[in-house]
Structure formats: C-alpha cells, structure tokens
Symmetry: none
Subunit: 243 residues, 2 copies
C-alpha cells in the first residue's frame, strides 16, 4: 500500500538520491526539486502528503516557501537544516512547519517522523472515530451484541459472555471505534499491540478469523466484520448502533 507522496526539496542532489531511495523502499512515492521554482511547480501539480524542505536553495530562501506551501496544500512540512539553531527552529515551527530536523540525521528517524506527521494529519480525517474516553462503556451492535469496555468482554443478547481473549477484545474495540472505516492490518497492529509490524504477518488475519467464529460472522456474507481486500478490515454498522 502506498504510504503517500513526499516532495524532497534540496539542492544537494546526492542527498536527494539517498533520501529518495530510502523513502521509496519504505513505500513512499518521492518527488524531488532542487530550487524554489521547481518546488512550487511540483506542489501545484501533484497532491502531496509531506514536504522535506532544505532552507538553503539556489534561487531563494527555503523558509519563504513555508507559508506558500501552507496556502497550496495541507501536506506536512518537515524542515531539514544544516545547522542546529534554536531560533531558526522556533521561527520555522512558528511559521507553520510541522517538524525540524538537523543534518546529519539517520534515515530511520526521518522516516519515523514522516510517518508520525502523516499519521496525525490522517487521524483528523477519521470522521467517525472519536476519543475513546468519550465513547460509552457499553456499545451495542448487530443481533443484540453488547461490547462492555469496562469488563473487557462481549456479551450476546442472552447476556452470555462471548469469552473473547484480551487480544480479541482489543481488536474488536479498535474496529468498533472506527465504525465504517477500513483499517489496515498495520494500523490494527499498532492500535492493539506493541512491537514491530511485519508486512507479511498474518496474525491479525488469524485473530480476525477467531473473532468472527465467536461472533458467528461468515466472511463470505459478513454482517459485522467485512474484509476490504488489499486494505484490511472494517466494522460494519449504522451510525446509531455505534454512537
């Protein structure tokens, strides 16, 4: 799955190649520009998720690009600077940059910060996901099912426990709290577990299968948990039943 599009703006073309390769290996699409003019053109023609902005460019000050990008796009802006100057950091952050990194930095850190800013921006778009502290302790859905978040358990219409394991409960909770939104396996992993996600991991799939079995949900004609092929899984519900 494509993680998003990153525009990298830097006149150091060797660094561009290194950054570009690394981020593409991470699943991003990378576009490069080495001056202000090209950067603005690229920002005009391509939807962007993040911008890596070096401040020293041959045809102008990179810093002046911050407000221009803000007017053009809601992409996250990560300033990449050759010096660790607190005042410069603060000015950029105040001007609208989302993050500021000082060269030299590790590629892994760059990637993690890109992911963090994109994640935060995307979290604002999750219209039906609300703070879990604002959600009720008891959520009803389907044929009389009741998810009791205080008890970490699911009950049927006869008030019998479904005997969910903690893992199964967390997974169902994560799905319910994002009703009618497909959640990737990676996202579900991050919401419910600790540790590193491996793209070939099937554990979430197995857990979904076990959950479905307890819910009596048939994946071929699902009423509760729908597979979104190539994406992940989605909890199906009316607005009302999960509100």
């Amino acid at each position: 799955m494509q993680k998003g599009t990153v525009l990298s703006i830097d006149d150091d073309e060797n660094l561009q190649v290194v950054i570009g390769q690394f981020l593409e290996d991470e699943g991003y699409r990378v576009i490069t520009a080495s001056n202000v003019k090209a950067a603005l053109e690229k920002a005009d023609s391509t939807p962007l998720d993040a911008i890596l902005l070096d401040l020293i460019l041959p045809d102008g000050e990179g810093m002046s690009l911050i407000p221009q990008f803000q007017n053009k796009t809601n992409a996250a802006i990560i300033v990449v600077s050759g010096k660790s100057d607190t005042t410069e950091k603060i000015v950029c952050l105040e001007m609208g940059a989302d993050d500021y990194m000082t060269k030299p930095f590790e590629m892994r850190e760059l990637s993690a910060r890109i992911k963090a800013v994109i994640r935060r921006m995307d979290s604002g778009n999750e219209g039906e996901q609300v703070k879990s502290s604002q959600k009720p302790d008891k959520i009803e859905f389907g044929d009389g099912w009741r998810l009791d978040r205080a008890q970490y358990q699911l009950f049927n219409s006869a008030n019998e426990s479904a005997d969910l394991t903690t893992g199964e409960f967390k997974l169902l909770e994560a799905l319910v709290l994002s009703v009618n939104r497909a959640l990737s396996r990676e996202h579900l992993f991050e919401l419910t577990r600790e540790g590193e996600y491996d793209v070939y991991d099937r554990a979430i799939d197995i857990q979904i299968a076990r959950l479905r079995k307890k819910l009596g949900d048939d994946p071929k004609s699902p009423k509760i948990i729908k597979t979104v092929r190539g994406v992940g899984y989605m909890f199906c519900g009316d607005q009302d039943s999960a509100a």
Copy 2:
C-alpha cells in the same frame, strides 16, 4: 487566551515546576503527574490537548503509556527523554508519539513544538472547509454516486456497492481528486501503484475500461471518465459535485 491543556508526566518535580510555569505563562493549562498510575488517572478525568511524557517513571515504563494514551485520547504525545537514542526515538514515533525531544532543551523550542503539534491536530480536524486541496472522506458525483474513501468503496444512489477492487478504487480516487484535470497514464500509475512504469503498458487502460463498465459509463459519450487522446484520462465533474 487559553491555548489548551497539557499533561506533563515526569518524576523530576523541579523540572515539572519549571515547565509548568513556562507553559502557563504561554497560556496553557498544565497538569502534572509523576508516575504511570497518576498519569492514567489524569488522562481519564481531563480532556487533554498535549502530553509531555518522560520515559523513566518510578512505577513503570513511560513508553508503555503511548498506546494507552492513544486508546484514551486524541492528545498529541511529545516524548521527553534524557538520552538522545535514535532507536528509542524511532520506537516512540512508530508507537504513536508525535514528537521526541532530548533533555536538556530550550523552553522556547518545547513551546514551539507543542504549538506545532496542536496546530497540526487542529488543521486535521477542520479538514473539509479550509483548503481547496483538502480531501473529504465522502465524495458525491454523477447520478447519485458516492465515493467513500473510508470504506474504499463506491456506492450508487440506492446505496448499493459498485464492488470496486482496491485497484479500481484507487484509480477512481486519483481521478476524482484531480477533477477536470487530464492525468497521464504514467501519473495515474505513480499515484496508484508501486514499481516502474513502462510506456507500452496498457494496464491503466484495462483498469479504466473495467471501471467504466462498473460505472455504466460509455467511452464514446462519457459522463464520468473522459479519454484525453495522447494524454490519458480525466474525471469530468462540476466543481460542486467533487468539492
């Protein structure tokens, strides 16, 4: 002016006092906690905008709080660490933290980063009304079609699924998000797939054909997807219908 509520979690109470005073002078309301237990209680009882999280706490690992906070609240999480460890940075950012600062840091930088993450959150929440490049989750067009980006699916006016494959969905999404702009096959390829584009590749054409079939669109008199000969394809729409 009240800028929001910050929970500062650290067992160094001198630092708590310094941070608290500084941020309150900046207009934030500051709540403090010096251990995991108190932190969780405070997070439960008070709506928060940002959390400053020290990783070394007397009754547990601060890092384990990251997923717990994520499940409880939409507050931004800024990890504050006594060491500059790249792996630790990356793990925290991957786990859900929004930022990571290394002690000692300047208060001005802390303030600027708090402001940046809150701004980022607010810009995400305001989503659909601020910038023309903003991308709504549900887009209506044509004869009652509704593209639901949360569900990765298209529905007709009777609310029936068009059963788009993920590939078809992405292609339509890319077109819709650039309404009335002809996109080359290469561009569509880059927007929707990974790997290298081959100029003789016909895959996008096939996919467009499949999409048209599901939409009931006739290429000879297209209402939705228009072929731009020698260029590529274009989604036809009023501004309103895709805004």
